[in-house]
Each structure stands twice: as structure tokens, then as C-alpha cells.
Amino acid sequence: MSRDGAPSLEDIIHAYGADRTRLMDIVIAVQQRLGHIDDAAIEAIASGLAMHRVEVEDMVSFYAFFDREPRGRNRIRLSKTPVSVMKGAREVARAFEEALGIRIGETTADGLFTLQWTSDIGLADQEPAALVNGMVLADLTPADAPLIVAALRQAGAAGALPPYPPHSSEAAGLPKSLIRSSLVQSGPLLAGPPVRAAGLRAALAMTPEAVIEEITTSKLRGRGGAGFPTGMKWRLTRKSPGVEHYIACNADEGEPGTFKDRLLLSEFPDLVFDGMTIAGYALGGRQGLLYLRGEYAYLWDDLQRVLKDRRDQGLLGADICGKVGFDFDIRIQLGAGAYICGEESSLLESLEGKRGSPRDRPPFPTERGYLGQPTAIDNVETLVCATRIMEKGSAWFAGIGTKESTGTKLMCVSGDCERPGVYETPFGITVNDLLDLVGAPDARYVQFSGPSGQSIAPKDFGRRIAYEDLSTGGSTMIFGPQRDVLETALQFADFFVDETCGWCAPCRIGTVLLKQGMEKVVAGRATLADLAETEALADTVIRLSRCGLGQTAPNPILTTMRSFPELYEARLAAAPFEPLVALDDALREAVQIQGRAPVNGEA
């Protein structure tokens, strides 16, 4: 302990057993202690873990929530997405700028506040939303900004930094900290109060092989959108040789417009933990890992409390539910702001305390995953489905939905509609059915399955939501007739520039070039040749990129091009060629320095 009673860096490193695979936790704790990770902290962590400083820096510099430079005591992060912008996020940002006397991205002179944009924080149904010291505020208006700033000032300028992960009760003092339930319509999966461990007890009455068989018979497929058969994943993991076998729950819900995992973790955590425990039993694992995105740090305390209850009740630990020899526990790994970590191999890297760059496959995680051991990585919703299947039987589950897509899907609906929120709907309904349900009679288009999915025009609203037609992770952003399709595509292109990990060249550079190409379109300066070039570039990035991020990053541009060619054509410049940079813009600085008036249309 240091003199002020706070843990020293040595204490923090010691608390994690000087284990370099726990570097995420160590850096989070060090930043909580010091406010930022300075050179001395990098050196101390490196020497405490017997690492090189360049290795520690490599990891720390990767995550958006880690700071190498001092920032304000209070961190205000405003969610910037096309949906938040349509709901007034820019006006809220301006109100914060006025209340604080700084611009977005800056820190106040007294060191009390830093104001920033951040990527989607999983509250698309309650935008504009913000994270303040990790706590969450929703449905913000410009009038809230000065009140929030005043409340933060009152909460104390001196003393230790605000706790992180934040305590749940901390939020109470701030305006707009009451988050309403996102669940608008529940179905077979979420209806009725969940009974803790009902599914788990049913599973433990069977052999592990029989559990896998039951999941396979239910035809459950991964709910993240890729749709890999869950039973097969568990079977592959179980039969892969390894010292340990792991189940990892992917709660890095970063796809803009998705918020179902937040709902499940805050209102149905036992169904999630039951599912992880069932999976652990089925695939022969003793440890489960829940990777919780940094944006959901405010769920930390509640989730830990549920885990403790479960340990007290014998649902975690040794001989679970009296099943002799079945020992299993769950660790929550908090992330630190990186969309790429939702990609399963990046998630594994992050779980091991490294930068979240994807791995090449093969080997697949089912063979070599966490710490090189066989690992099944499942979406939060998938595990909830597995719990219910054990509770109610595979026949019940397979009786819902379509032939290839059994069960229900949690659709996260936001944007221009009357009733945004989570809707549990059986697979097989059409986009039109969903739009009727949520009250969006005049949708101009739907961004389906997030920016990595596709833009769907009304001509395709009759298509079915199912793996065999429109596959989705759940994100459904609705845009009304007043919205600018191209401007939105540009915002999504910008999102991928922020979130590309940088490891592979086509995605690192391609996302930037695609965004610049789209800027030219939106500015009305793109020619027909530019469009062809942008399309070709998009296809190249898809073919050459290493992981799903690069392979889908061009989708917002490509799918709007294909759904709305007339909007692109209407924005084209008539000239056969326009340079990327307008002459006026290129000369503006020179003209200014020369202190003369621009001539002939210069600047």
C-alpha cells in the first residue's frame, strides 16, 4: 500500500499473480489508480510482469479506453452513431461544450472534465446516450448537460478518482441515469420470470454427450449472425485434445444498433450463467469466461453479485448441484473499448491480455482457443437459448421458427419508429412484419444487422428474417423518408475507420480510402468513374481482409450503392474527372499565409 491507502502498482500486479495474461485487468486497475498510464507506469508494469515495455505499450495503445496522456477526472463519452445523431446527439454535444467551455475531444483547464465522442454504447433505443465515468445516461437533451456537469462538480473535485468499474449506485446522483427496460415484446425465450438453474439441473441429469445431442437436435445456431450450429461447436471443442477446455461468452456487443446482450445481462443474467455452466459441463470445461465490453462496465457489480449468489448456492464451484466431479466457475473479463474484440479470435487475444488483433484460422478456437486450449465461443443470446432448450426440450425449440432457423431472435430496433426496443420474434417473419410491429409505416430503408450487415430498400421488405434469407445479429436501424442515405453510409464508413485494428493492410488502409471516396460522393464531387473505382476498391477489401471486420466494412457503401443507385447518380458531378481535393481547398492555407484576397475563385 502507498501512503494514501491506495494500492501501489506492485500491489495491483501482485493481486493478479504477476500473470501477463491478466494484463487487461492490471492496466484497468492502474488507470483507475493513476488516471492514465504514463511512461513510469508502463515501465513498472513491464518489470512486474517480466515483459518488455514495447509489449505493454503495444497492448495499452490499442484500446480506446486506455489513456497514455492525462485526461479529465470526469470522462464524458457521448455515443456517436447515425441513430444518436438523428435523435439529437450533436445538439447535446454542443450543450456540453457550452457547459464546459471546451470542444469535443478536449479537457478543461482545471483537469476536471474530458469530453469525447465514442462508438455505439448499446443504447440505440434510448439515444442520445452517454457514458460518464463508466456510468450510463440515456434519453439526453441539451437541457440535461449543465445539470450533469453541475452534479459531477458537486460529487467532488478532490480525492481519489471515481471508482471503475463504477458502482451501480453511483449513477443515482446523476440526471437521466434511469435506464428503462429495452424489452418491448417477449416470446417463448424470455416470457415469464426465469427460474435460476432450471435448465442447468435438467442438463446435469443427462450425460455431457446427451446434452450436446439435445442442443444439436434443437438445431440451435449462433445468434451473433454467423449462424454456426452450436451443438457442433460444443462437440468439436469437447473432442479436441487439451489440458483444459473453455467456454467463452462473447458479450462484446459492439455492432451499432445492438443492445439485446445488455438486456439479457441486466435482466436475465442467470439464464446466461446457466448457459455457460451447461456448455462447460457439455464440453468438459472447468472455467467459463465472460468477455464484457468496456462500455458495459456499469453491469460489473451486479453481475459479480449474481456470480457470488450462484457460488453460495452451489451453482458454481465444486460438485455443482451435487454432481460429483463437475467443478466449474466463471470469470468476467472487462474490455476497454474495441469493436474488433467481438470478432472471436480477437476476443481470445484480448482475453489473454493482448491487443485485440484477429488470428488466422486454422487452427480454429475449437482446437486452439484461449491459452491455446480448445474453446467454444458463444454469443450471449445463444447461451440463453441453450439454457431454455435444456429446460423445455429440443422439440419445443425446433417447433418455433423455420426449418433452417429454429427458435426466436431478439431483434434490436431503433431509429425512426414509434416503439424502439428489443422484440423477441420467431424466425421467418418478414421485414415488413417487424416494421408493422414497431410502428414504422414509412421507413425509407433499414440498416439490417448493423453497419456490417446490409442496407435494405422497401423492395426487399418482403424478405424473411432467417439464416436462409436475411441473416442478422439483431441490429435493426430504421431510417425514415427525411434521412440522407448517403450521409448515413458515410457515418458508418467512418465507424470502421475508427474500429479497424490495423493488423492487416487491406482493412487498415482500405477503410480510410473508402471513407474518403464516400466523402467525395456526399460533397457532390464524385464522378461516375469515382463510383466504379470505389466499388472495385470495396470488393478488393472484402476479398483480401483477414477477418470479418474488413470483409464487411465496405457493406454500408456497397449495399446502399446497390439498393439506391439513383441516390448516388443524383449526387454525381457532371464532369468526367474531379480531383479528390478541390483547388480552392488546396490553396486556402497558402492564400491565407500570403495575406491576399483569393483571385478567380481561389479559396
Partner: protein, 240 residues
């Protein structure tokens, strides 16, 4: 045929491969050149550049990190893949600052050589003109990040061959940079001119001082023959 030797087909040509080889290694051994940039024969493959992307059994994957397997059908030298690779080389050119005409590595640079081999005339994408730092703190080794293509060869070589971990990455996305294991730059590290890490750079990011014009322009590796010729010579040798 031994148990661990099998055949696969690349661009219609049947070649032999053995268990444990990557597709790229198997093709190298058979004298078939797959363009590549980040791959170095002495180092573990990192798969950062994706130039060696082929269509293997219908899927686009990087040949350097894909294990060769029995009966694989591979497309390599196709107009579409060449166009993709050329576009990617262009991307790398506009991402950094690459003044070939006065660069010390001209004629010995794998990026430049691939540009020639793949038929790049001039980049059609906009130059990004990034601001990057040079590092001249070391007495024998000069670091010019303008040329860096983030291939990770030096990182791998320093860690695995030299046992020093002098290099690493910093940041993410387009802001990613090559980083040094000392706040004060390369001069504060254990880096030595004889290190493997000093000799594996495919461009002119890591340059030995006082050594640059030992081989004059016009007489360098790729002045004499296109990149990949050495590999292709093996196949010509088999035939004759």
C-alpha cells in the same frame, strides 16, 4: 509417395506438398511464385500484408498462413487476383511516404519490386501524407518510419531470432506505428547492426548507416530480375 506427401493443384499445375508446409512454402519449393510482402522465409508468418491471398478451394485466404492440404485447388495467377494485389500495393504506397527515385532501397525494395511485377504505374488512390517520426539515435541503424509498411518482420526477428524484442506496434488502425522498446529511441536499445532484425526489412524503414550505396543503383537485386524470379528458376530447372 511417403505418407505425409500429397499433391495439390495450383493454376492447373499439380505439385507435391508435405504435411506442415504452408501453401506458400509448398509452392516456393515447387518453383511457383505467389507474390508476397510480409512473409520472410526465416520467420514465422504473420499474415499482415495479405498480398499472397489466393483463392483456395473457392475461398480467399492468405497462402502464407494456410496449411497445405491434400487435394487443394488453388487459384494464384489470375487477372482478378493480380488486380487485387496491385490495388493493395497501391494502398501501401499511398499510406506511407515512398519517394522511390531518391530512396536508398530503390532496386532492392520488395514493395517497389512488387509494384513493377504487378504492373502498377502510379497509385490511383489519394496519397495520405502521414506525419511519421524518424529515429537516428542509434550509431549504426537508422529508422525511417515513412517507409514502414507494418509488415512485422523486424518485430518477429528481434523477438525470436535476436532474443531482444526491440520492436513492437503502437496504436491501432491507420494510426498504427512501429514502436521501439525504449522511450529515448533505438539508440537506447540493445539493437546491433548484425541483428537479424536489421536485415529483414522489405523496404527502407530499417537501414544500416554508411552502407547504403555499397551496391550502386542499377546493379541491385531487382534491377536485374523481377521479384520472384529466383523461385520461378527452380521450376525452370526441374523442367530442363
Amino acid at each position: 509417395m511417403a505418407a505425409d506427401v500429397f499433391s495439390l493443384v495450383i493454376d492447373g499445375i499439380e505439385i507435391e506438398a508435405s504435411e506442415g508446409q504452408s501453401v506458400l512454402e509448398a509452392c516456393d519449393a515447387a518453383g511457383i511464385y505467389i507474390p508476397r510482402l510480409c512473409h520472410h522465409p526465416d520467420l514465422a508468418a504473420s499474415g499482415t500484408c495479405r498480398i499472397c491471398t489466393c483463392k483456395i478451394n473457392g475461398r480467399s485466404v492468405a497462402a502464407c498462413v494456410t496449411p497445405a492440404a491434400r487435394g487443394m485447388v488453388i487459384e494464384n495467377d489470375t487477372p482478378l487476383l493480380t488486380a487485387d494485389r496491385r490495388a493493395l500495393i497501391e494502398m501501401l504506397f499511398v499510406e506511407g511516404n515512398h519517394p522511390c527515385p531518391y530512396c536508398v532501397a530503390s532496386g532492392d525494395c520488395e514493395l517497389q519490386a512488387l509494384g513493377y511485377r504487378l504492373g502498377m504505374v502510379a497509385p490511383t488512390q489519394p496519397y495520405q501524407w502521414p506525419a511519421r517520426k524518424i529515429d537516428a539515435t542509434h550509431p549504426d541503424v537508422y529508422l525511417d518510419r515513412d517507409r514502414c509498411i507494418l509488415c512485422s518482420r523486424c518485430i518477429e526477428a528481434s523477438r525470436m531470432e535476436d532474443g531482444k524484442t526491440v520492436f513492437g506496434f503502437e496504436g491501432r488502425g491507420i494510426a498504427m506505428r512501429l514502436n521501439i522498446d525504449a522511450a529515448g529511441g533505438l539508440g537506447e536499445t540493445q539493437m546491433a547492426a548484425i541483428d537479424k532484425a536489421a536485415s529483414v526489412c522489405p523496404v527502407a524503414c530499417i537501414v544500416l548507416k554508411r552502407d547504403s550505396y555499397r551496391v550502386p543503383n542499377g546493379e541491385r537485386r531487382f534491377d536485374k530480375a523481377p521479384i520472384g524470379s529466383d523461385i520461378e528458376a527452380k521450376r525452370a530447372g526441374h523442367k530442363s
